[in-house]
């Protein structure tokens, strides 16, 4: 495999330095890659794709016919992160999650942060994802955000930024685990001996986190995963996590509230449920409390929840902290609750609700990325520099009509990773979503989901919009050991 023609196009490339030499973290991998015979990489890529299809590792795309499954797009070349940098990221994520948990708890209880004038009260109280139904609630262990998937990006200057905190139902972790599995299946000679930090204990950690946060006083709590059903885009992940944890995957219709507790319908009658890892949005959880037209949830679930007889993970109402307008205040939030400076910087953010900032945004729409404050999945975003004048006008109108609903950020140049395109490697833009679990302890999975925009030049990495994924390797410090077997049947060591 020849790599001489690889060009990183002036943005930060994760594998190669601007002079074309591999970075220290990628040196050993590149060396191994070069020993592969021509065509071997393509063969392995094909084997991986077939394997993904046979194993039914799929996702659904909304807006297509119901139940349309697409095979998860996976690129064989990993993104590699060295140990020192990862240690910084890990500390930064732990810090962030601790602070955000304090913040959510404060918002629904004492609201000290408003009284102390750190975050404007009206900004938080006007958030669409605030749930008044959660006022005065204290979850077990004080944990609101049990499972978080924080989106990180690296800009052209090499700095890693937090782009979004996903505190509601972040998805993608199953693909991280499957990607690793796939890597081992199809790329074993290259993977072997690379001293990559293991991630396989995630399911165990997740189960522990859920059980840690069970209502107090239950000796052997029962946890379940609650899914909206097979047409949900992340259905595969729901089944995967339930299977890996060995718990039941339930739908709303499997659960019923009876005598003040939540139960599931089993072949032997009703059985009590103590912890629900719910993959249904707040609005659909309980038609008696939130949206009345919801058929996905469980009637009166929130009554049981508020009485502390069942735990919901994540807690309803956490969305208030991943509102993109609140996001702009996270550095202040960290400082306020922990007395520390944020380890991971946030992307500079303009709040359209603030007049001066709004004026700037409207005058610079061709340079900025404009985002709705509480959408996810990349929906509703305006990429200023690439948008047409008509699109920009439409967004400007929307901003004027409803400034609170919009924020803007400078256009970032996401870093790239070599990706197999046809017969050669080309740079493609990536982001990174590490997963953080918060129970009695905080666990950060080493690495996370590297999403890659497969179209040339594109920075949209969402799988619903043509994105793919890569395995993410966090190297353990200085422990790389030489491979013991031949790398490739056709190559030489």
């Amino acid at each position: 495999m020849r790599l001489a023609s690889y060009q990183s196009n002036g943005v930060f490339d994760e594998m190669f330095a601007p002079d074309g030499q591999p970075r220290a973290s990628g040196a050993q991998f590149v060396e191994r890659l070069q020993t592969l015979s021509d065509g071997s990489l393509q063969q392995r890529q094909k084997a991986a794709e077939l394997s993904l299809e046979n194993m039914g590792i799929t996702f659904n795309v909304y807006g297509h016919a119901a139940g349309t499954e697409k095979v998860w797009p996976f690129d064989l070349l990993p993104r590699i992160i060295d140990a020192t940098e990862w240690a910084m990221v890990e500390n930064g994520l732990q810090q962030r999650i601790r602070a955000l948990n304090f913040f959510v708890n404060d918002v629904y209880n004492e609201q000290k942060i408003f009284k102390d004038g750190i975050v404007p009260e009206e900004l938080v109280l006007s958030s669409k994802t605030l749930r008044q139904q959660c006022r005065g609630f204290q979850p077990p262990q004080g944990v609101w955000c049990h499972i978080t998937g924080v989106d990180l990006i690296r800009d052209h200057d090499g700095q890693i930024y937090v782009l979004e905190d996903n505190l509601r139902c972040p998805s993608g972790v199953s693909y991280v685990l499957e990607n690793r599995e796939m890597m081992k299946r199809t790329f074993a000679p290259v993977f072997q001996g690379m001293s990559v930090a293991p991630i396989e204990d995630y399911s165990e950690q997740l189960l522990q986190t859920l059980l840690d946060c069970a209502p107090p006083g239950i000796s052997d709590p029962t946890a379940v995963v609650l899914t909206p059903g097979i047409y949900n885009s992340a259905y595969f992940e729901h089944t995967f996590l339930a299977q890996q944890m060995g718990v039941e995957l339930v739908q709303g219709s499997d659960l019923v509230v009876e005598n003040g507790y939540v139960h599931m319908n089993t072949t032997r009658g009703l059985r009590r449920v103590d912890v629900i890892y719910r993959r249904i949005d707040d609005d659909f959880l309980d038609a008696k409390c939130f949206r009345k037209d919801s058929t996905l949830g469980v009637n009166h679930l929130m009554d049981v929840y508020r009485e502390g007889r069942v735990t919901l993970a994540n807690a309803p109402g956490t969305g208030v902290a991943d509102d993109k307008a609140v996001y702009a205040y996270v550095p202040e939030i960290i400082k306020y609750y922990l007395g520390e400076d944020a380890i991971l910087p946030s992307v500079p953010t303009f709040l359209c609700s603030v007049e001066k900032q709004r004026k700037y945004v409207l005058a610079n729409l061709d340079k900025l990325v404009v985002k709705p404050t509480n959408e996810s999945g990349g929906y509703g975003i305006l990429m200023g520099p690439q948008a047409s004048q008509a699109e920009r006008d439409k967004t400007a109108e929307a901003i004027r009509a409803n400034p609170r609903e919009w924020i803007a950020q400078p256009m970032l140049k996401l870093s790239t990773v070599p990706t197999l395109v046809g017969d050669e490697l080309q740079p493609r833009h990536v982001d990174l979503r590490p997963f953080v679990l918060c129970g009695k302890e905080i666990y950060v999975m080493p690495g996370g989901l590297t999403r890659v925009a497969l179209r040339e030049g594109s920075m949209v990495v969402n799988s619903s919009q043509g994105g793919g994924s890569k395995d993410t390797w966090v190297l353990r410090n200085g422990e790389t050991v030489p491979p013991v077997a031949a790398l490739d049947a056709g190559g030489k060591i």
């Binding site: 046979n54 194993m55 259905y235 995967f240 995957l249 319908n265 072949t267």
Partner: protein, 335 residues
């Protein structure tokens, strides 16, 4: 286990078994017609009768030509009992309960469905359907083997087996019924010239020819019926299927032998013990067709009871009770 999961497990295995049986029927009939030129040799209509979908078939196709019947039974997505529909339903059921199945089982099911879907797109598949039928049969065996070898033989596994055996009992009963009617329209017709080829084919379609020969040697119609209906050791015989289904049901409920704790167990127990003490002479006297007809009705009642005892949720029961009580109220008011 969850009622919904039990329901899906049960149906997924019924659908696989159904696909396998349809493939068997096609294969045997095809082989049978190969060497024949007369009208008997080209009989494809009985195959449709065997599956019980003759009404739908007539509406969609009319004449039971070879081509029509093969298409209807294999790849017609509007026929809910075609091989492709069964494979799709089995996979859909599995998809909703993927977490309850070993990964290898899901992967095999997935491959099975892809195989059928691909075969359906190849226009020549049905010109010589043997290879396709064989692949369907093997896929089914592979799934049974994979569940046996990788799944705990607990509740879910017993629901799988229950579904498979009840489906198989139903299919064997249908094939005996239909083929017997063709071969021996009058049950007292003993002694007429024996069409050994067709009788062998009947046994073959239940993979029973070799086992039958070991047990009974020469082909004698009444022994064929005895073997396929009442044998206690042959895994496609109706009696065997029921005995093992009953065993699985007992494993699910924990009832001891000879007792029951719900309607499903009571019904299957009654059906089974009736068979325990039935001889093939009784069946012939009763009339084979009549006997099978009664059997199928009782088997359907077993299925209904299983659904009610295990798959019905608390909410569904409450709704049903509410409906019944409001009905009684209206009745008492009007009287």
């Amino acid at each position: 286990m969850l009622s919904r999961v039990a329901n899906s497990v049960y149906w997924l295995s019924r659908y696989i078994e159904r696909a396998e049986n349809v493939a068997r029927f096609i294969d045997v009939n095809y082989n049978l017609t190969l060497g024949e030129t007369d009208s008997l040799g080209n009989q494809w209509a009985p195959l449709v009768y065997t599956t019980g979908d003759q009404e739908l078939f007539e509406k969609r196709y009319g004449a039971p030509t070879r081509e029509n019947v093969l298409k209807f039974l294999s790849f017609d997505e509007d026929n809910p009992n075609s091989i492709i529909s069964c494979a799709a339903f089995a996979r859909e059921n599995a998809r909703t309960i993927r977490e309850s199945l070993p990964s290898v089982v899901w992967e095999q099911l997935n491959k099975f469905f892809f195989m059928v879907r691909t075969a359906a797109k190849v226009s020549t598949t049905l010109d010589q359907p043997q290879e396709f039928c064989e692949r369907v049969r093997l896929a089914s065996h592979l799934l049974v083997g994979a569940t046996d070898a990788t799944m705990s033989h607990g509740e879910a596994w017993h629901f799988l087996r229950l579904g498979r055996l009840l489906e198989r009992a139903d299919k064997t009963s249908r094939i005996v019924d239909v083929q017997y009617f063709i071969l021996l329209p009058d049950a007292h017709d003993v002694g007429s010239a024996l069409d050994v080829v067709r009788w062998s084919a009947l046994l073959k379609s239940a993979s029973a020819l070799e086992m039958y020969r070991r047990q009974h040697g020469k082909i004698v119609p009444v022994r064929v019926a005895d073997f396929l209906v009442l044998d206690r050791h042959f895994p496609r015989a109706i009696h065997y299927c029921l005995m093992k289904a009953q065993e699985s049901l007992r494993n699910i409920t924990g009832s001891t032998s000879g007792t029951f704790c719900n309607l499903a167990e009571q019904r299957i127990g009654q059906l089974c013990s009736a068979m325990d003490y039935t001889s093939v002479r009784d069946i012939v006297q009763h009339g084979l067709h009549q006997y099978i007809d009664d059997f199928q009705n009782r088997l359907n009642l077993v299925g209904a009871a299983i659904s009610d005892d295990f798959f019905t949720t608390h909410q569904q029961r409450q709704a049903r009770n509410a409906a019944t009580s409001s009905q009684t109220q209206t009745q008492s008011q009007s009287s």
